[in-house]
């Protein structure tokens, strides 16, 4: 019984890692600019397609395709932020939502045009296939790889945010934008960098997700609810919040399906509603 429980939790953590990786950028841009980027999943999808393209057309290995997916989505993020997004920072929320939903559908159409409507698949290298035994249970090597990969990224991220000047600027801009501008922080520039980093992380998440979440042109819309859920439950603007929220979503969703398959997704959504009632500003968020 215990071994099974551990197995289910580990599966859930692997799923949660991916959700965290993709959603964390959304949390930061929402906290920085109060900008709800509903097209955020498009950057994850772009990373996924880049990974597939790099492996199939360019013949690169999986491990080489991951950083390419990161860079591609990051560059895409910078370009779009500079050209389009920044024009709408001061616009109404309705305008922002319409704009990003438009972008979302545009990205889906573009994906159909370039890659066709079907789902994509990648072939994992042999060392990422198979199962490993741990804690008396079986875990797939790829899931273990995903957990470790995201753990390293999360620690790196925590270091950047906590200990570097760039991290301090982000924290300051999120906490009090007026004061940040007052002490000479270029919040616009901070936003561009944060947007780029968030897009890049989403891209790498999308690339890792090809195996576990699937990849087809409807990707950004299909998972939009999950990404928003994690940001809202975690608390916009934080790094730790989305991590907790992703863990709750991933583990509860997976465990719910194992222990009470009849309930389907009910378990998870029920918990989400409960959490939002108890913590209306998110797990680590604050009232604004």
């Amino acid at each position: 019984m215990l071994a099974q429980f551990i197995g289910v939790v580990l599966d859930g953590i692997a799923y949660a890692s991916l959700l965290f990786l993709i959603s964390v950028g959304l949390s930061v841009t929402m906290g920085l600019m109060q900008f709800a980027n509903l097209a955020h999943g498009a950057f994850a999808m772009a990373g996924g397609y880049m990974c597939v393209y790099a492996m199939q057309a360019l013949g690169l290995s999986y491990l080489a395709a991951l950083p390419i997916a990161f860079l591609f989505s990051m560059v895409l993020g910078v370009i779009l932020e500079r050209l389009l997004y920044r024009r709408l920072y001061s616009a109404s929320h309705l305008a922002q939502v319409l704009f990003t939903v438009g972008l979302l559908y545009l990205s889906m159409g573009l994906a159909v045009l370039l890659f066709g409507p079907g789902a994509q698949a990648i072939h994992l290298p042999p060392f990422l296939q198979g199962q490993i035994a741990m804690f008396g249970t079986q875990l797939s090597v790829f899931r273990a790889f995903t957990i470790i990969f995201v753990l390293i990224v999360a620690l790196g991220l925590a270091f950047v945010v906590r200990w570097t000047r760039f991290g301090a600027r982000i924290r300051c801009s999120v906490d009090n934008r007026a004061a940040a501008i007052g002490i000479g922080i270029d919040v616009d520039k901070v936003m561009t960098y944060a947007f780029a980093l968030g897009s890049g992380l989403a891209g790498v998440g999308g690339a890792l997700g090809v195996q576990l979440m699937g990849l087809d042109p409807s990707f950004p819309l299909k998972y939009l609810a999950y990404f928003l859920l994690i940001v809202v439950v975690g608390g916009a603007g934080s790094f730790i919040g989305p991590l907790f929220a992703a863990l709750v979503v991933g583990v509860v969703d997976t465990a719910g399906r194992y222990y009470a398959p009849v309930l389907g997704s009910f378990t998870m959504y029920f918990l989400m509603i409960a959490l939002l009632l108890i913590f209306p500003h998110g797990l680590v968020g604050r009232a604004r």
């Binding site: 079907g118 698949a121 079986q138 195996q211 979440m213 087809d216 997976t254 194992y258 398959p261 389907g264």
Partner: protein, 391 residues
């Protein structure tokens, strides 16, 4: 047919269509299917390519009437959209016949329009059992899930496979296939090791795979929609090493049709499935169909069961128009279809006059690599299976 009836039918058609349909006109087919969105990959274009393959082989004119296909996009199973499209096709485009339908709900909605307007309809996919009862002017050229899954259970019984775990998507076709499979298992005193109905929004199958592992079954029967779900499940099955642990995967054939097995590649090899059509079926009729289809499909992909449903619907339409010398009287047409029997690319088929469903062979196949391509190789035949899975 009496003179009064003919007069009435004429008056009715004048009332409905606003004009007396001219006989030498184009023969218009109203095709309702997904041409956009996630279901379009193996949806509308696949049907249209199947129809075009038929026209390429048999010519695009029948009894002096040129075939015109009018496409209508129904991206999702939404019945209200399908009803509106069918109404448009009948009243504005004045189609001679309605056709298409990936999803059962769109088939039922359009079937109501077909019934009221007395416009014959040909279902090319939509495989839920029993939906034709209330649609007297509809015939189904595809299959039902009970028809394709019961033989798989029979095969499992015959081969002494004990303790089968069933995994189906939690919607009408999934429950149809689960019921058909379990009933057949019980006939030989066999019972399921466990049964799970998976919500249609499931992405990560890890928990379900663990449940399967816990019960250590002899085989897993799966029916999931022929899209990401089928792919993700087969992938997760392999990833967990269930095949290496000696658990056989028995799939409803739609899960391993060409567009899916192509993206799964090696992960899908060895899957045993049951279905009425494989592009590997070794007959001259099928070879001609596959060759013609590949000139229309993206990347020269092989035809799926959806394409063969569309091909056979064209065969039915051609036959009806030929026998009525260019006309398409609804009652006479239904009579012709009820009595039809022909050699399809899938094998010999005929109609069950009572149910208006196809009686056909169901094949047990194994996914193998053949000349570089993945194909479902048929190795056992259950002959003349009806829509309830009986032989």
């Amino acid at each position: 047919m009496s003179a009064t009836f003919r007069y009435r039918a004429l008056t009715l058609s004048v009332l409905i269509f606003g004009a007396i349909p001219a006989i030498a006109d184009d023969l218009k087919i109203g095709l309702i299917a997904p041409f956009s969105g996630p279901s379009s990959d193996a949806g509308g274009p696949e049907m249209e390519s199947g129809m075009r393959a038929y026209l390429k082989i048999h010519g695009d004119t029948v009894a002096g009437r040129k075939i015109v296909i009018i496409r209508k996009d129904a991206p999702s199973p939404a019945p209200d959209v399908a009803r509106r499209l069918a109404q448009e096709l009948v009243t504005r485009d004045k189609v001679d016949v309605l056709a298409g339908h990936i999803f059962t709900p769109t088939a039922i909605a359009a079937g109501q329009v077909s019934t009221q307007a007395k416009v014959p309809m040909l279902i090319m996919n939509a495989a839920t059992s029993g939906i034709l009862a209330k649609m007297p002017y509809t015939a189904r050229a595809s299959f039902t899930l009970a028809q394709t899954t019961a033989p798989l259970a029979r095969w499992a019984n015959k081969n002494g496979i004990k303790r089968v775990f069933t995994v189906v998507a939690d919607y009408a076709p999934g429950i149809d296939s689960e019921t058909a499979f379990l009933q057949e298992l019980e006939k030989s005193g066999n019972s399921a090791a466990g049964s799970i109905r998976v919500p249609l929004d499931t992405i990560d199958f890890a928990s379900y795979i663990r449940r399967i592992q816990d019960t250590q079954p002899g085989a897993v029967f799966a029916f999931l929609p022929a899209s990401d779900q089928a792919k993700n499940f087969i992938k997760a099955f392999r990833e967990a090493g269930l095949d290496k642990a000696g658990v056989r995967l028995l799939a409803e054939g739609g899960m391993v049709h060409p567009a899916i097995s192509m993206t799964l590649d090696d992960d899908a090899i060895g899957t045993v499935s049951s279905h009425h059509y494989s592009d590997d079926h070794q007959t001259a009729v099928n070879a001609a169909f596959v060759a013609a289809f590949k000139t229309f499909s993206p990347g020269g992909r092989a035809p799926s069961y959806i394409a063969v449903g569309a091909y056979d619907a064209m065969e039915m339409l051609f036959q009806a128009v030929k026998m009525q010398e260019g006309k398409l009287d609804p009652d006479r047409t239904m009579q012709i279809w009820r009595e039809m029997a022909w050699e399809s690319p899938r094998g010999p088929v005929r109609f069950d006059p009572a149910s208006r469903d196809i009686v056909q062979n169901v094949y047990i196949r194994k996914l193998e690599r053949k000349n570089g391509a993945l194909v479902n190789v048929e190795f056992e035949t259950f002959a003349n299976v009806d829509d309830a899975g009986r032989q």
